[in-house]
């Protein structure tokens, strides 16, 4: 794995991917710090906070679980919302299974842990299969490091910078815009994107958090017709 990453670091074709990954990871790292702070102040121990980032590794679910607990909710209600938010990673897994090669089982099990919003989007943004795979692994490795280091810092520090003051909450949608831009050149992808966005917007006020994104996946059904 580290050897493969080192090879990717020397590949000039992948330089833009590295640059983009490191920017994204920096933003993710700041959010991880605020997650660490939030989790500890919601009553989690430092160990629980860090284990959550290491094992759960899907930011939206973690934030949701911590905020429910912090607001005095039960473990069951914290779990319900967080699981709904995590379900979309299953859909990303379906998409990534067509892009990642078969490989060894151990590789697949590691790839599974890193199958989240950012890695799927970065991978889909690449022009060919080779760069698509490389972008998945580079993004996965750098985000995993930044997310966990940031969580530890936040959990220990208890006090940190406010991500909102730097507009970092908009760094994610801005990045996603750039990532899907190349996909929109293809007519069917553009239609799926438009339909997915409309479904999501329409459902946000009426369904629990997490459901709109899941339902947006129905937009892919336009692929049924040739």
């Amino acid at each position: 794995m580290t050897a493969a990453l080192r090879r990717m670091a020397r590949d000039p074709e992948l330089r833009p991917v590295w640059g983009a990954c490191l920017t994204l990871s920096a933003a993710v790292g700041v959010f991880a710090v605020s997650f660490g702070v939030g989790a500890v102040s919601a009553g989690a121990s430092v160990a629980q906070t860090c284990v959550m980032s290491l094992l759960v590794f899907t930011g939206a679910s973690q934030f949701s679980a911590v905020s429910v607990i912090g607001a005095g909710g039960s473990a069951a209600s914290a779990m319900g919302g967080a699981v709904l938010l995590a379900a979309r990673n299953g859909v990303y897994g379906l998409a990534m299974s067509r892009r990642l090669p078969a490989g060894r089982l151990a590789t697949r099990l590691l790839a599974a842990q890193w199958t989240i919003d950012e890695t799927t989007a970065m991978s889909a943004a690449q022009p060919d299969a080779r760069r698509s795979r490389a972008a998945f692994w580079i993004t996965g490795a750098s985000l995993y490091c930044c997310w966990n280091i940031g969580t530890l810092i936040g959990a220990l520090a208890g006090q940190a910078i406010d991500p909102l003051a730097y507009g970092l909450d908009a760094a994610f949608p801005a990045g996603y815009v750039a990532m899907i831009w190349p996909l929109l050149a293809e007519r069917r992808s553009a239609m799926a994107a438009g339909l997915g966005a409309v479904i999501c917007l329409a459902l946000i006020p009426f369904t629990p958090v997490g459901v709109p994104i899941l339902c947006a996946a129905l937009a892919v059904l336009i692929g049924v017709r040739r």
């Binding site: 379906l94 909102l164 750039a178 799926a192 947006a216």
Partner: protein, 100 residues
């Protein structure tokens, strides 16, 4: 916060990821289904963009993020590198937020 919640959530989260990745795997699937799966990133990432831009919990809101993401759309359309798009989106949002 209990260990049960931490580990239970970890198990659910990993189960979703693994099932997605392994259930289809490299199996031969009908071309129509393959076409649908290839559209997943476009549909879901577009949905993430509108959610992260226009929502706060279950309410739809229009705030500084919309300005930042609008700037990002222009930058992406002008073929700016991803790094520039991200920094610009965050900077414009922070600027508008400070003014507002």
């Amino acid at each position: 916060m209990t260990w049960g919640l931490v580990l239970g959530l970890a198990a659910f989260a990993y189960a979703f990821k693994v099932i997605g990745l392994v259930v289809v795997g490299d199996r031969r699937i009908p071309p129509a289904l393959d076409r649908c799966l290839m559209l997943i990133p476009a549909a879901l990432v577009a949905a993430l963009v509108v959610k992260d831009t226009f929502s706060s919990g279950q309410s739809l809101v229009l705030d500084a993020r919309a300005a930042g993401v609008a700037a990002a759309v222009v930058a992406a359309w002008r073929r700016a590198p991803l790094l520039v798009v991200i920094v610009l989106g965050a900077a414009v949002t922070a600027g508008v937020r400070r003014l507002g």
